[in-house]
Symmetry: D2
Subunit: 140 residues, 4 copies
């Protein structure tokens, strides 16, 4: 069960399907059942004091599992998040990108489950952890 | 244990502390341990097809519990989300606002827990449900 | 989309399929997309000090959504829990039963989502809240 | 921030404080901010077909984080679970023990967060994953 998409193909698919987030996320590393992604932190992600907002951290976790699933099943815009549990554990570093390490724990016919550990670039203590379930549409 | 802030005071506090989200959220109704809020859906919340994005739905749930807590304890910018669990259950209606009905289930000295049911305006079937925990800073 | 099973049929199905929990749960009230259940607290549910254990509270939430789903779709032993998020908010009352108020928020072809509010009998403040997702097997 | 308790001390504390679960859990390995535990599967954990019940899997995740926290802060019976999110991903192997790999992601003054990956002994694919928050009582 190898990869069906490369990093470049994933990035191109994301830009085409979700133009609203273009330039916000980058793929750092991709493997079978795992991906490392980056939130390129900009003004729109910040809260007063320079900390990254909760919704931006959620978005990073969400896109990470989405891309990890797509890499394994191929480009299917219709995979949708059905559940997310997220723990915010530390304040993100000010003015630095966030890095998300994601692994798929299950890739079933109908459901995929991934977990994500997020830290500020240059630090090791996790800012947040999340687990997400995606519903996979029937093959067309 | 009555309300310590009015809807107008909450709205003013939100605008002052979180200028990035100014104009995105409105308070529809406020009571003890409960609040109804609205996501005023704009271009920045949408995904292709006109559906509201997951991070925008998360943001609505998050701000709802935050405001419900502040209304009870007074303006304390330092209350932070520590956990969120969210289920996305239906596609939001295209081009209509989202309404969040939030109730506080616990308001302790250190932790507050709220749950939120979100639907598209004019529909009753829930788009999402979420539960969130806030950590309340020691009184200053 | 009416009820496909009565309270008596649900109770009989539960006893037959899960003999290990016989006598632990009772159905208090049943309606479309909702159920009220009771944990008949016994020695095996208790922790030192007389409080009900976390796994017992989890079991009550789990069985409540299970029964609410079965009541709507008919007896299908193969529905399985795929996700649970639970918040423990207060210590249960000592030596009293727990009551769970459950409502189904979604009953789809593949997934069902329910939430549950649990309180000690005779008290109103919630002991716990939970949300669960069940995967529904294809109709046979 | 080294370990404050050994495996033997943890096991003795668990037996003394929670006699109801005596003999059900074993500590396989212990380190700073991490623990590996075992559910010694018996009749009381099983569902028809020989699969381990959801509440038993929940109990294993719960006790794992509890022990990992105690090992770091010393014996404090009053640490309580405030939140758990759990994904059930595969059916456990029939008649074999479950192994839980737990790591603490945060050990704060007030809250601790741990995550747990559970598999059947002799298999690698995870049966479940869970994340839990514990509230730590003020030092006495």
């Amino acid at each position: 069960m190898g990869l069906k998409m490369t990093s470049a193909e994933l990035a191109a698919f994301l830009d085409a399907e979700f133009p609203q987030v273009e330039g916000q996320f980058a793929i750092e590393d991709l493997g079978e059942m795992r991906i490392t992604t980056r939130l390129i932190v900009g003004e729109q992600h910040l809260r007063p004091g320079g900390t990254v907002s909760g919704p931006s951290i959620f978005a990073l976790a969400d896109v990470s599992v989405y891309l990890a699933v797509l890499a394994m099943i191929g480009p299917q815009g219709l995979a949708v998040t059905t559940n997310c549990s997220i723990d915010f554990m530390r304040k993100p570093g000010s003015g630095v990108d966030l890095i998300a390490e994601c692994r798929l724990l299950k890739l079933g016919r109908v459901l995929a489950v991934g977990d994500v550990l997020i830290h500020s670039e240059g630090e090791t203590a996790p800012v947040a952890r999340a687990s997400l379930t995606y519903s996979i549409p029937p093959a067309r």
